[in-house]
Symmetry: C2
Subunit: 467 residues, 2 copies
């Protein structure tokens, strides 16, 4: 070996060490999860909506990654949120709901059990500052509040925005509470931490105020690692938008609220840029379930997907999903890999260097190979639960429906609650709209899916339902 080679080798080792050290010394990244309420798969410009204008989310997708096959773990609000925060199927945490009660109501006394570990709780072990801004819907007894589940601070509505109605309010004859909502009809309570600070809450400024809280949280914690969980109240019905957005969208009132949500996302990203945090922050945007089609023009669109909220057809559980982290996530990539909101738990913990809980079954995988290497999903199966019943399973590109539920199709075609034996089978890559049953042609796929269900069930201990 020549002297120059030795020098080069030594230099290489030195540089390698420096790089390693600098990696080890890098602060753990900030994480922001923005969660829309009842936003449909087809409601964003970058997912093909023709009249809702979402330049900020479109830009977020152009600068980051747009996922086409991203699922939530439930067809409605409460269980979907429980799954995102715990990385576990709602049936394991008691949050799946039942045939009679599918989400938490004001009269519910249950909530996300105190022995469940949220992303916030886990990240506290690495000294993250944790904030929750927006709709909680995981219990309102003191032990179930955000501040009891790992969040240092909370600002928002504990329930859906239609859940504290004024029972004395008389609906004027012929009035549409969906398309022309009278603010006097609802009396939602706005919480800061565990205290009500406004009642009734002015919903028209809610997105704006959430956004101010979020950008303030980012600015105040710019020198610490932080986790911000930002579940919006809209576009859940009743729809309210601030003066700057009301009557502005060609799509009407529903569009107004989505366009304000889009503005809000832009404010968050702009704040990260201004604070020079964009290269150390993962931002993930998605929605809790599909569009509330029964609300007609006040509900969203699932695009080419069949059905919406409440259904285990694709429209109920496949969501728009955008991941953003300049320089770490390649710009403008579209990933068709199978992914789930439950994967965010493992992804966040791994990013923060927190070990996974070893004492419970987890349902998520790490999204890092997809997000940072545009690689393959580590997930092969996703389960479609409706309440505490398994309705369908996707394995690879195939989805089998064991049951399909009543719901509300955009075309006013009422689906029936039906059991399917043999199950219906669709290839979701070739037939994303689930039009053409191919069960008869692929008994081997059905057999494989049935084996996956057996494995799943063998490993499943349903928890005591909380509501």
């Amino acid at each position: 070996m020549k002297t120059t080679s030795i020098v080069r080798l030594a230099l290489g080792c030195l540089l390698g060490t420096l790089v390693l050290n600098s990696a080890a010394a890098a602060p753990p990244p900030n994480i922001i999860i923005i969660f829309a309420d009842d936003l449909g798969y087809g409601d964003l410009g970058c997912y093909g909506h023709p009249s809702i204008r979402t330049p900020n989310l479109d830009r977020m997708a152009a600068e980051g990654m747009r996922l086409t096959d991203f699922y939530v773990a439930a067809t409605v609000c409460t269980p979907s949120r429980a799954a995102l925060l715990t990385g576990r199927l709602p049936i394991r945490t008691g949050m799946a709901g039942s045939a009679t009660r599918r989400v938490l109501y004001g009269v519910s006394t249950g909530g996300l059990p105190t022995n469940e570990i949220t992303i916030a709780t886990a990240l506290k072990s690495k000294n993250y500052v944790t904030g929750c801004i927006g709709k909680w819907h995981l219990g309102h007894q003191p032990q179930f509040l955000p501040t009891s589940h790992g969040f240092d601070s909370y600002f928002g509505l504990l329930w859906s925005n239609d859940m504290e109605p004024d029972k004395d309010f008389k609906l004027p004859k012929g009035a549409s509470m969906d398309l022309d909502p009278d603010p006097r009809r609802w009396k939602p309570s706005l919480f800061r931490n565990d205290r009500v600070i406004e009642q009734p809450t002015d919903q028209s400024t809610l997105t704006k105020r959430y956004t101010e809280e979020a950008t303030k949280f980012i600015r105040e914690n710019r020198n610490k690692p932080f986790f911000l969980y930002f579940p919006h109240t809209f576009p859940h019905v009743p729809l309210f938008a601030s003066k700057d957005f009301k009557d502005k969208s060609p799509r009407g009132l529903y569009g107004d609220t989505v366009e304000e949500l889009d503005w809000s996302v832009g404010q968050v990203l702009d704040t990260l840029r201004k604070e020079k945090l964009e290269e150390n922050t993962l931002v993930f945007f998605t929605s809790d379930n599909g569009p509330w089609l029964i609300k007609e023009l006040a509900g969203g669109s699932a695009g080419l997907l069949r059905e919406g909220k409440g259904s285990t057809w694709e429209g109920g559980m496949r969501e728009p999903a955008i991941a953003w982290w300049p320089k770490k996530i390649k710009a403008g990539v579209v990933s068709q890999e199978l992914a789930s909101s439950m994967d965010l738990f493992k992804t966040c913990l791994n990013l923060a260097g927190v070990p996974l809980p070893a004492d419970r079954v987890m349902d998520g995988v790490d999204l890092a190979p997809i997000l940072f290497q545009n690689g393959k999903s580590q997930r092969d199966v996703t389960f479609y639960y409706r309440g505490n019943e398994l309705f369908a399973v996707r394995k690879g590109d195939f989805k089998a429906h064991f049951q399909t539920a009543p719901g509300y199709a955009g075309r006013r075609v009422q689906e029936k609650l039906e059991k399917h034996d043999p199950p219906l089978l669709f290839n979701l890559k070739q037939d994303t709209s689930e039009n053409f049953d191919i069960a008869a042609k692929h008994p081997e796929v059905l057999a494989e899916i049935e084996r996956a269900v057996e494995t799943h069930r063998a490993n499943l201990v349903p928890a005591e339902p909380q509501y």
Copy 2:
């Protein structure tokens, strides 16, 4: 006035003159129209398709303008092409078809009348080199050929690719000619100018060969103004893709052909860049009509739109449309303005400095305000003809259906041929999927649309049907 001001004024005038002179001296732009066959509104990534990969068209949209409300003038092939090339409704040119024959067939003796003026004919008056590469479908008698309608050269199939079947071919039992087409079943003739050069034509290499012809045409005419009309044969059924694309798309065979089409668009744009023609060339991409839903997995998707090919519901006539002209069209703009394939005639003639024909009714407006200033459409109304019958009218955001036609819905819901009195009325910005009839709420809108129909009819002289 001070001396310096006078000097400035003189200088200003001089510069103004120079700018004017340089504008006058600029060569007229090249124009390329790429026309897909049966591609649906929802079939491109940038229009929200989850499993068809169209990076080149997505990039074209990101560098140019994507239109959300772009219509063709007919629900099927022949009349749609006639309208694009002449800027006139097919009912005025004899190309609307009839109840029994909706497109030209091999037995047809008619074609686009020789007294009609195509974009190619018009641009010849300014010494444009004009080429047509792909599917013609406007008549196969000598007087109706592309070379008789203003095109210097032609390369392609005169009909749809399913129109020269081998009548002796025995379909194997259980075989699917849509999803597993046997090339021996069809014997299409490939033309160069007015001569058959291959029969039967190898369809699997057709997109590739069209593309080679197109890029050669661009390179050979790089120093002249040129007009290239590039109507593809696919994704019309039967579907064939070349070795590089066959079995590659997650969407299956249909996706293979769309992904090869996408590649072809990329080749055209790359050639323009290589030849440094991109700043003097308008490229416009769209499709002739909606997806052929009856072909099931071998047909495309209209996304959130109702119905497809053959129907006057939005899915039949609203198309993906992308305009590209670096520096002249602002990058990444989405326009919701109302536009039509018939507007390309006036747009092209104005760009080339050719006066409009004064002896006939024209149905197009100039798209320049939309394309180059992101401004308002000059079009307020669009008509939905099915054959020679007016089925529906859009005025502003509203669409009235006087009749709706049998067709084939993605959900296997068969529509009926129905007359509607009062008409159905939809607000297409708020209810793009045409789910919620609001006729009862808006009699004034219906009255306005009915007046527009009266004006239209007063001005309409249907031509002798050509087929």
